[in-house]
Structures are given as structure tokens and as C-alpha cells.
């Protein structure tokens, strides 16, 4: 591209040297816009009066130089070069009134705006970092007193607890009131109790198999009773309108999720 105009007449020797110097540390630039901003400084004018045409030529010269020196340029530098070559041609040609495309002047104005904005953001970033900073210039309290959470535990027991406790003691050797040996049976009440606590966290569809307590999943007998109880409890919660339940297919996993409050 633009092979015949490697050294445009507007560009003096000093500028060329400056452009070549830039090539040495191309890695120091954060992309083509950063490089363009750097190049624009050689024009020594307010960015609002900058000649985008001259800048485009400087950039293209930079890219050509880099090629001559066999410096590998990242793709976005080449994309920018292509775009600036296009912009340059638009700026040099008289505008075509039948053309729908934006004019060269519009495109140049936008590029100038981008450069000015980037420079402005750099300037305010520097002002921001120069402010008094907490922990460097200004300090917070060194000895903080956390609010101590005093946990006052109030123990309660009801008369019934007391009487049952006594009955338990007095009859311990003889029999156990209200106790049946069913270690390997999970009741629906147990499952329901467990689910009521956990259901609040089930915002998304969850396999009910994952609801089984850990100690009920090993032994097949325990797993079976836990599954049945959990399923029955799920149906109960559906009836109460607290969860939704679904099964994709026969014998497919059964999923439940919390019903959103608005749906109730």
C-alpha cells in the first residue's frame, strides 16, 4: 500500500527520525491508537487542530519502516494502516455527492475525537492517581473495635420436656416410650422436615436424588426408603405450592425446584 509515498513531502527528516525511533519500542505501545496519539505529539498542536492527513501519513510511514526493518507488527496495526490509507484517499479526493459513505472529513473528525478523548482520559487518570490516597496520604482508624456480637443464650425447656425427661429416667430400665427400632426407615416427616429447610436454596432444577442425606445413600435399603420418603415429601411440597416438580421421561431423574413467590 502507498508504496510511492513512503516519505511524504510534509514529513521532515526530524519527523522521520522520530518515527523510526518509535519503531524500536513498538511493544511499548498499547495498540495503534496509542501509537497515533504519540505520533500526533510531533505536530505540536492542540489535538483539535491536528492534521489527520499528516497523521495518517506518519502512521503509514511508520508501518512501512517497520516492514523495511522486518519488525513483526500485530494485526491490528495493519488493520489501522489499511483504514488510514483509505481515509487518506478520501481526504485527498473531492467528495462524491452521490456517495452514501461518510465523508473523509467526518471520519477524520471522529479519529481526532478518539485521540482527544484518550488523551483526556490519560490526563484525568493522572490527576486521579495524584490525589491523596487512603493508606498513603490519608489514614483510617488504626485500632478498630469490632462490634462484638454478644450471644446471650437463653435456654428453654417446657413442662412437657421436663415431664418426658422424668418419665424417661424413671422408666429407662423397663422400656423406652415412643421409640421403635426403625433405623433403616426414613419417614416422610423426616424427609419433609429436611426438605423444608433446604428448599429455599433450590432456585434451579435439582435432581431429588441429590436431596438424600449423605448417610442414607450407601446401603441400598436405606437409599430406597430415603428416596421414597423424599419423593413423597416432594409431592407434599408441590401440593403446598412451594415447589415445582418434573420428570422428563419414564424412569428419568425427577427434578424439583423452589416455586418463585410470584407464581404462588
Amino acid at each position: 500500500m502507498a508504496q510511492d509515498q513512503i516519505t511524504p513531502p510534509e514529513m521532515g527528516v526530524a519527523d522521520r527520525i522520530a518515527a523510526e525511533a518509535l519503531i524500536v519500542d513498538v511493544g511499548a505501545f498499547e495498540g495503534p491508537l496509542d501509537l497515533l496519539l504519540s505520533l500526533s505529539r510531533t505536530q505540536k498542536v492542540d489535538l483539535r487542530q491536528i492534521s489527520i492527513l499528516a497523521l495518517a501519513q506518519q502512521y503509514l510511514a511508520f508501518v512501512e519502516n517497520a516492514r523495511a526493518l522486518r519488525i513483526e507488527l500485530a494485526a491490528d496495526y495493519l488493520v489501522m494502516a489499511a483504514w488510514l490509507a483509505f481515509l487518506k484517499s478520501r481526504l485527498l479526493l473531492p467528495p462524491d455527492p452521490t456517495d452514501d459513505e461518510p465523508s473523509g472529513a467526518d471520519l477524520a473528525a471522529h479519529l481526532a475525537f478518539q485521540l482527544e478523548r484518550l488523551e483526556a482520559m490519560r490526563a484525568v487518570a493522572a490527576r486521579l492517581m495524584a490525589r491523596d490516597q487512603l493508606g498513603r496520604d490519608v489514614f483510617a482508624r488504626g485500632i478498630t473495635e469490632d462490634v462484638t456480637r454478644v450471644r446471650r443464650i437463653s435456654y428453654t425447656a417446657s413442662l412437657l420436656d421436663l415431664m418426658q425427661g422424668y418419665a424417661r429416667v424413671r422408666t429407662r430400665d423397663d422400656f423406652r416410650p415412643f421409640v421403635m427400632d426403625r433405623d433403616n426407615l426414613m419417614t416422610m416427616e423426616q424427609a419433609l422436615d429436611r426438605m423444608r429447610h433446604l428448599i429455599g436454596f433450590a432456585g434451579t432444577w435439582t435432581d431429588i436424588a441429590s436431596w438424600l442425606p449423605g448417610d442414607w445413600t450407601g446401603d441400598p435399603v436405606r437409599r430406597r426408603t430415603a428416596t421414597a420418603a423424599t419423593f413423597a415429601a416432594s409431592l407434599e411440597l408441590v401440593k403446598e405450592g412451594r415447589i415445582d416438580i418434573r420428570q422428563g421421561d419414564a424412569f428419568a431423574p425427577i427434578h424439583v425446584r423452589k416455586r418463585a413467590p410470584r407464581d404462588v
Binding site: G142, R152, I153, S154, D161, V169, R170, F175
Partner: protein, 211 residues
């Protein structure tokens, strides 16, 4: 022997020294001695005078300058300590051991520790009785007039209030517990309720017995 520094830098006015001491003590993580302060302050400052001024300024405020050994630190005014506490009352059920011990004391008072252990069939940890005493539900009664003169435990008015009882005699006996379905009815013969015999004078004074 005045150093050249003295003539070059004059110490800041006392008002500024006071501000400096204030800022340093605010920001440091540890109390600071006057010597440590002097090391931080510009040359020629007098930390002791500045500390006294800061102390006066904060007198009666929400924060005080207090002395901690040789050092000084800002601390919350003692009367405002309550602002630094957030009380959370957590209700917990009494443990089974505590419930049973309490029940035994209530039904058998005054009861010695040995008696409680005999009835429960297991040892009673010191902590359990301590907890009940701390809760204000159990207190020490008169020593038993038996060898070793062991202490006895009785229930308190606080206990009666909490459980809504007029007296401990209002507690239902085993027969009533059974009638209420609290005990399985298949009682092994020979274990009929015997609280009355083990009972203390409180129960014995009761007109209607223990049921």
C-alpha cells in the same frame, strides 16, 4: 550543645503538635509512648505537652485519650461501650442431661448429687448442675443430715415461674404421666411409682400426695 537542626527548623506551634499527635494516635495500630511519638513528630516537638492538650480536648467526648502503661491510645468512652456490643439472644433447648437432672431435682427435692446419679443411672457432670444453677432454676438446699453431710439441690421460684407451676407438688406423678400418654402403658410390674417414699417433706406436706 545545640544541633544545627535546631536553628534550621523551628518546632511547629503547639496547636499543630496537638493535631499531629491526634492524627498519629488515630491512625496507628498500637498505643504509643511519648518517646515513640517524638520519633514521628518533627524535630523539637514536645509530645508530653501535646498529649496533655489532646487529652483535655477529648475529655467528656465519645472517645477518650487513655494511658495504657507508658503508652497512649484513643478508646471509646466507657459509658458508650454498649454501642460496641450487639446483643443477639439465641434460644436453645436444654440438653437431655440437664432436663433429666432438673426433672429429678424437681420430683425428688431436696436431692443430693448421689441420689440424682442413682436415679439417672449415669454420673451427673458438675457442668450440668452448674448450668441449672446459673439458669436460676436450681439452688443449693440444706445439707443432708447423713454421713458426709452432702449438699442437696432444690428448685427455685424462678423454676416454678418458668414452668408455670404454683409449687413443685403440682408436677404430675408417674400415673398421671401414663394417663396422659407420656409413658407407655406396658409398665413392667413392680416398678409402680415410688416417688412418694423417696419424697421429701415438701411433697409429704402435700395434701393430695403425688398421685
Amino acid at each position: 550543645m545545640s544541633e544545627p537542626r535546631d536553628s534550621l527548623f523551628e518546632a511547629p506551634p503547639l496547636a499543630d503538635q496537638e493535631r499531629m499527635v491526634e492524627a498519629i494516635l488515630f491512625a496507628t495500630a498500637d498505643p504509643m509512648t511519648p518517646t515513640q511519638l517524638a520519633g514521628r513528630l518533627p524535630h523539637g516537638c514536645d509530645p508530653v505537652t501535646a498529649l496533655a492538650a489532646v487529652r483535655r480536648r477529648y475529655a467528656g467526648r465519645g472517645v477518650h485519650l487513655v494511658r495504657v502503661g507508658e503508652a497512649w491510645a484513643f478508646r471509646t468512652a466507657p459509658d458508650l461501650g454498649f454501642l460496641m456490643r450487639h446483643e443477639v439472644v439465641e434460644t436453645r433447648k436444654l440438653s437431655r442431661a440437664a432436663i433429666e437432672t432438673l426433672a429429678i431435682v424437681a420430683y425428688h427435692q431436696p436431692a443430693t448429687r448421689a441420689e440424682i446419679e442413682e436415679i439417672r443411672g449415669v454420673g451427673v457432670s458438675r457442668g450440668t448442675l452448674d448450668q441449672l444453677i446459673e439458669l436460676g432454676w436450681v439452688r443449693l438446699g440444706q445439707r443432708r443430715m447423713s454421713p458426709g453431710r452432702p449438699v442437696t439441690f432444690i428448685v427455685t421460684q424462678g423454676f416454678l415461674d418458668h414452668f408455670g407451676l404454683e409449687t413443685a407438688r403440682d408436677l404430675p406423678g408417674l400415673k398421671e404421666l401414663r394417663a396422659a400418654g407420656l409413658l407407655d402403658s406396658r409398665t413392667v410390674p413392680g416398678t409402680e411409682e415410688e416417688p412418694v417414699e423417696t419424697q421429701d417433706d415438701l411433697f409429704e406436706r402435700s395434701p393430695d400426695g403425688a398421685g
